[in-house]
Assembly symmetry: C2
Homo-oligomer: 143 residues x 2
DNA sequence: ATCGGAATTAGAATAATTCCAATTTCTACT
DNA sequence: AGTAGAAATTGGAATTATTCTAATTCCGAT
């Protein structure tokens, strides 16, 4: 059995009927397939627009509902840059995000092998981290 | 001459008439004094409510204008946690933020001495970072 | 086939923030 | 001091991402 992460562009109908205890409805499958397919960190509205191709009657509210369900079941990740609209990421590995200010494109950035939070942050001991988000903005080297 | 960072609770009238090339108007001084005073990462609305004590006619639009001016002149920092409303921080040192999910209180977290971004992130070489935000959520150790 | 809970839907509501146009305040210059 | 122009402030309207609501539809279990 192969993890979803390694299927590049699954057709919605190839997705299982349940994931992480979440019932995969037609709409949730469609939304998930879009996020897994083009790995470009789409916004809810991006997903909505793309979903309408194959599913013209899907509603934006449903897209939001699906995203919320997928995120809370840890099937996709929500990504935030300052006050911009949230984006969604299929990469469940530990990673953070870099937005190229020129193109707006968001790139995954992974941590150096074996790095722990406590290695670079002065955390009061005993602190339990439940959520971590690192967002970078800048320019890609052009030399 | 002492940096603003070290004045615990400056009275607005003690603030200079210009900072970082930004003209310090009555309203901007008031907003800045509030942020420097109670170092609790207030939201724009928090600032608005507090400002009304000494300046009952200040408007929320002005508070937003002042905050935007102070942030863009690097006099205060804007802090974001997911989709919550922005908060403002007077600490200009390199640091990030931890929100205690129990109390909602936000704590400054500093980096370990001498740590560089490239030490823990696999950044494509040549990348120029203009902006970095690290936000943590969790619980404070209670043993 | 039917029941009951869960999901979807359209549209209204919310809330943070930004925009706008009118007014006030400053600053610089006579 | 008096004044013109620029910049800042103001109240209210607009915007926009997201959430809520209530009605309908769907689906899996009996
Ligand atoms: Mn989580
Ligand atoms: Mn900056
Ligand atoms: Zn990602
Ligand atoms: Zn801070």
């Amino acid at each position: 059995m192969i993890s979803l992460q390694h299927i590049k562009s699954p057709k919605p109908e190839d997705l299982p009927s349940e994931l992480e205890g979440l019932r995969m409805t037609k709409q949730r499958r469609e939304v998930l397939a879009i996020i897994l397919g083009e790995r470009d960190h789409p916004t809810a509205n991006d997903v909505y627009v793309r979903a309408q191709n194959r599913m013209p009657t899907i509603s934006l509210a449903t897209v939001y509902n699906c995203l919320e369900a997928l995120v809370s079941h840890h099937i996709v990740r929500q990504v935030n840059f300052e006050r911009e609209s949230s984006r969604y990421c299929p990469n469940l590995e530990d990673h953070c995000h870099f937005q190229d200010e020129e193109s707006g494109i968001i790139h995954d950035v992974i941590f150096k092998k074996g790095v722990k939070l406590e290695d670079f942050l002065e955390l009061p001991q005993g602190t339990e981290i439940n959520h971590l988000e690192i967002s970078l903005k800048g320019r890609i080297g052009s030399e």
